[in-house]
């Protein structure tokens, strides 16, 4: 055995607190180590070339790189040693940066710790065995979860490239948040004019199936071979018959809150969210339906010309087999009412959210595009916008910037002027203006100079009703004095939050999410649209707050990653899987009990006895069976019990 150890300086990232050169000398005394060197940047081209040269010239059979986290560069170095003819699994990383140099100050102690980390890695690599991946067939169909603008973009890109795509959308129509917007910044073009043609494209595309009013219930399998159970929620309307004529909606006597219009209006118990809905199909909100609540009515059933109403409809489940999954579940509006009592907590009628105002501005919205006060339906003369409600505010647990509010507030301020006239006073309370996109800064400037919107830097401390007005009390921090504005209408630039149910979906998919419910990308810079679960990708605002241009751009990026994955006919599976030493298996079948993936199976031997056998391409390498097997005859390649014990001994006895 000939082990080479390469110790990285990482510029000064490691070398400032760890004596990389000294470590190279010490590591040379470790058993089986025949070559050591310290390198300025091991991951650089010359650094990697140095490793390959040492493998060739010194006949190295194992390599340890002591540098950054394996999550950063394990793949890089595995490829590097493989190119030099070594099996990539005869390589091990010692993380002396994230786990040592960056968290310590004392150079002597940090160097000692780094030495032990290296010893543990050497001990681990010593028992490493060459591993070889398996190949599995790839299913080239794709599931897109969420039919907003990002999901539609991904679906269209993939479908255009020839892949079969299924869009699962939990509402009755695709379109997502963008469908609820009036205009888009910085161009002030009509949101629907951009989006609805894309929705129609998706609906008519021969490679796209839209499953609206459906949710992902269960996901099994692995990259290239997912099996997804989809729940089709009962709409109480047979969508194969419904023609979207809306007769039922017109005649329905019962009303319920209107999610699509952000609660600004009511809708009928049987409804179609908006005229351009795709698919344009009716659904009954049973909570509000008289038939379901009181057992009488059935008006819709009587008026339906297509005989589509089905009061007995049940949820159904369908299964789809796909090779990749794109999560594009978007975002929700921050529920400001719960968090901002100082703004009335929702009890002042003329204080509304940005999305409500968006619906008010919209010509097909509940007010027909007419801006008025909620309290008395009069046109407002003074309109105040308050930014960063539910963003950049640690007091409400939202430290992040929602990234779209500055821009949509400017847009809405401009639209206010055009809807209500120049004589309407418009104020915007802001902390900072973030206008980093193309044409964004110019757009803000236009709002200020061309449209005369008053930007006041400062937070609003309190909103209260007084004499028919909403009193806006705040601080103008530039002028340094209190201001109090009697407003007719106050619009809160409510921030974005992760979509409802996002953590549950993440658990179903086995992907990570952050404390706010946004899904985590595999690496913010290197793998920004991948998740840590192979074959599952992200697009749009489900990952972090995004505006439309960014969502669409990312969606196309995601589509290209999916295409890259599915361009292969076969996929290599990780060889770090469980394997049974059948000569020692006692056939207690505990492994079969505990495996979440059904990877172990009973295999009959020639002598008639049965032993456990792990199907390599099904095994995901978690090792639950390994910890469960009483005779320890299952070992997890790459993480054998012996290698763990060796590491323990190095850390404790050395």
């Amino acid at each position: 055995m000939r082990i080479g150890v390469f110790i990285c300086h990482c510029g000064t990232n490691i070398a400032a607190t760890v004596d990389s050169h000294g470590l190279a000398e010490r590591a040379a005394e470790l058993k089986d180590v025949v070559h050591t060197e310290d390198v300025m940047y091991t991951c650089s081209e010359p650094g990697q070339a140095g490793i390959q040269r040492a493998i060739r010239e010194k006949g190295l059979t194992r390599v340890v790189v002591a540098a950054c986290s394996p999550q950063m560069h394990e793949v890089t170095f595995r490829r590097c040693v493989e190119d030099a003819g070594l099996n990539p699994h005869l390589f091990e990383m010692a993380n002396i940066r994230e786990h040592c140099s960056w968290i310590h100050d004392d150079k002597e102690l940090a160097t000692e710790k780094a030495y032990e980390i290296i010893k543990m890695a050497v001990a681990k690599v010593r028992t490493a065995e060459p591993l070889f991946p398996n190949e599995v067939d790839v299913n080239k169909d794709v599931l897109v979860i969420g039919g907003g603008v990002a999901g539609i973009q991904v679906a269209l890109d993939l479908a255009d490239a020839g892949l079969k795509v299924t869009i699962v959308e939990r509402e009755t129509t695709i379109g997502g948040t963008m469908a609820r917007l009036d205009k888009t910044f910085p161009t002030i073009d009509c949101s629907a004019c951009i989006l609805t043609p894309r929705m129609v494209d998706a609906a008519h595309h021969e490679n796209i199936t839209i499953m609206a009013y459906s949710e992902v219930d269960r996901v099994q399998g692995y990259v290239g071979n997912f099996v997804v159970d989809i729940k089709r929620k009962a709409a109480m309307v047979d969508w194969n018959r419904c023609i979207g004529c809306e007769l039922c909606v017109q005649k329905c006597p019962a009303r319920g809150p209107d999610y699509f219009n952000a609660g600004l209006a009511e809708t009928k118990a049987i409804y179609i969210p908006f005229p351009q809905a795709v698919p344009k199909r009716a659904a009954i909100q049973t909570d509000y339906c008289r038939w379901f609540q009181q057992g009488k009515c059935r008006v819709c059933s009587r008026v339906c010309p297509a005989n589509a109403i089905d009061y007995d409809q049940q949820d159904t489940y369908v299964q789809r087999k796909v090779g990749a999954i794109v999560v594009a579940t978007g975002m929700d509006v921050f529920p400001w009412e719960e968090y901002y009592p100082q703004y009335g907590g929702g009890r002042i009628p003329d204080v509304i959210s940005g999305l409500q105002y968006e619906r008010m501005l919209n010509a097909s919205g509940p007010t027909g595009g007419h801006v008025h006060r909620i309290s008395n339906h009069e046109e407002p003369k003074t309109v105040v916008f308050i930014q960063c409600v539910g963003s950049r505010d640690e007091a409400v647990g939202r430290p992040y910037c929602s990234s779209v509010c500055c821009m949509y507030t400017a847009k809405q301020a401009i639209l206010t002027k055009s809807h209500c006239g120049d004589d309407t006073d418009v104020y915007v309370f802001y902390i900072d203006i973030r206008a980093t996109g193309k044409g964004y800064e110019e757009f803000i400037k236009r709002a200020q100079s061309e449209f005369g919107v008053n930007y006041v830097r400062g937070r609003v401390s309190k909103l209260y009703e007084d004499n028919g007005k909403v009193m806006v009390r705040g601080m103008d921090t530039l002028l340094g004095h209190q201001v109090e504005i009697p407003a007719d209408l106050v619009i809160l630039a409510t921030g974005t939050t992760s979509a409802e149910g996002a953590p549950q979906l993440a658990q179903t998919l086995n992907i990570s999410y952050d404390e706010f419910g946004f899904f985590k990308e595999s690496h913010p810079k290197l793998r920004p649209v991948e998740t840590n679960t192979a074959g599952i990708f992200l697009a749009g605002a489900c990952q972090s707050p995004k505006d439309i241009p960014t969502s669409v751009a990312q969606a196309s990026g995601t589509a290209s990653k999916v295409l890259g994955l599915l361009a292969k006919d076969k996929l290599k599976t990780s060889p770090e899987v469980a394997v049974v030493d059948q000569s020692r298996c006692v056939g207690c079948w505990k492994c079969i009990d505990v495996c979440p993936f059904s990877a172990p199976e009973k295999q009959e031997l020639r002598d008639g006895t049965s032993r456990s056998h792990v199907i390599e391409t099904v095994c995901q390498g978690c090792g639950i069976c390994v910890a469960t097997c009483p005779v320890n005859c299952i070992s997890l390649k790459g993480f054998t019990t012996d290698s763990l014990i060796d590491q323990l001994e190095e850390a404790l006895l050395g």
């Binding site: 020692r584 298996c585 006692v586 207690c588 079948w589 505990k590 009990d593 505990v594 469960t628 009483p630 005779v631 320890n632 005859c633 070992s635 054998t640 019990t641 012996d642 014990i645």
Partner: protein, 325 residues
């Protein structure tokens, strides 16, 4: 011996005879007298005319379920009749839960049990060899080789676990030898731990270090255990992985026992077979009974109660409320 005990013994013989006559089993496992009357040993009866040597009395401590586990039946596909007490039946249930014994090849005679006497404690009361133990009502008459005779109260000689038995009746059986006994009420009891539990960490460490320094790694505790069935493949012997050091020294010996304990966790009902079999009398119950106490407090779980249950570590509950921080 009480009338009930005699009735049970008669019934065991009768059921064994029946099973053998009908060809239901190839052999029947019960208890019989050893080389001295004070000794009761496992009996393997193949012929009908041997059935009369089967015994039932408070010396029948052996958990016969151990002879059902892997590699024990001879021939391997034998159809076996077996007697089980309440505690024994729980180990059988644990094996059945894992489908590691074939129900179809098994004929189980359940024996309600009033409690087994602690022969070890009894013997320590004499310097001479105890060769006869007779039961007369509530009294136990003990005779030594030298001819000394003493009468002792049955109640006071019971094994600690029997004195507070929660399951005097078998949990699983095909036929019953005798009437069922009243089922004790209340939560399960885990006797004999209080004194040890009250010790400081340092004192416990001392007790265990002393106890396990005497362990000779004979594997009696493991091989006698009905739910420890890895036989030749026991990881305690394995060099790859080398989970347990092969040196016979206190640390390694305790680790050895930890392997046993963690591997039977969720399936061990504290039948006490390991404890009774240890040739150097290491108080194994301190570990195994404690483990069961903790499992009960942790998840309300008791091993080997119902065939359809899953052993506690082969399943989970999303709502497990445990003590992680």
């Amino acid at each position: 011996m009480s009338g009930a005990e005699i009735a049970r013994q008669d019934r065991i013989r009768e059921l064994a005879r029946q099973a053998l006559t009908e060809g239901k089993v190839d052999y029947f496992i019960g208890w019989k007298a050893g080389h001295v009357p004070s000794e009761v040993i496992p009996a393997f009866v193949r012929n009908v005319d041997e059935c009369d040597m089967l015994l039932w009395n408070p010396l029948c401590h052996h958990n016969l379920t151990t002879f059902l586990k892997r590699k024990m039946p001879d021939p391997p596909d034998a159809r076996i009749g077996v007697c089980v007490k309440g505690c024994d039946s729980r180990t059988l249930v644990a094996l059945l839960q894992e489908t590691l014994v074939d129900k179809e090849r098994l004929y189980v005679v359940g024996v309600p049990c009033d409690g087994i006497i602690d022969r070890r404690r009894l013997e320590k009361a004499f310097s001479d060899e105890v060769i006869d133990i007779a039961f007369q009502g509530e009294q136990v008459v003990v005779t030594t080789r030298g001819g000394e005779t003493k009468e002792l109260a049955y109640e006071e000689l019971l094994l600690e676990q029997c004195a507070s038995c929660d399951f005097p009746n078998p949990r699983y059986y095909d036929d019953l030898a005798g009437e069922l006994l009243p089922q004790p009420e209340g939560p399960p009891r885990f006797p004999g731990l209080e004194e040890y539990e009250a010790l400081s960490a340092e004192e416990k460490d001392r007790v265990l270090a002393d106890a396990f320094a005497t362990c000779i790694r004979c594997f009696a505790c493991i091989h006698v255990c009905p739910v420890c069935y890895c036989w030749d493949q026991c990881v305690n012997r394995s060099r790859r992985p080398a989970l347990v050091g092969q040196k016979v020294a206190a640390k390694e010996n305790l680790m050895f026992q930890m392997v046993h304990m963690f591997h039977v966790a969720g399936r061990c009902p504290s039948c006490g077979a390991c404890d009774r079999s240890c040739p150097v009398e290491i108080p194994l119950y301190l570990l195994h009974r404690k483990m069961n106490k903790e499992l009960f407090e942790m998840l309300g779980f008791q091993a080997g109660l119902n065939v359809e249950d899953k052993p506690v570590f082969q399943t989970f509950n999303i709502d497990d409320a445990l003590g992680e921080q």
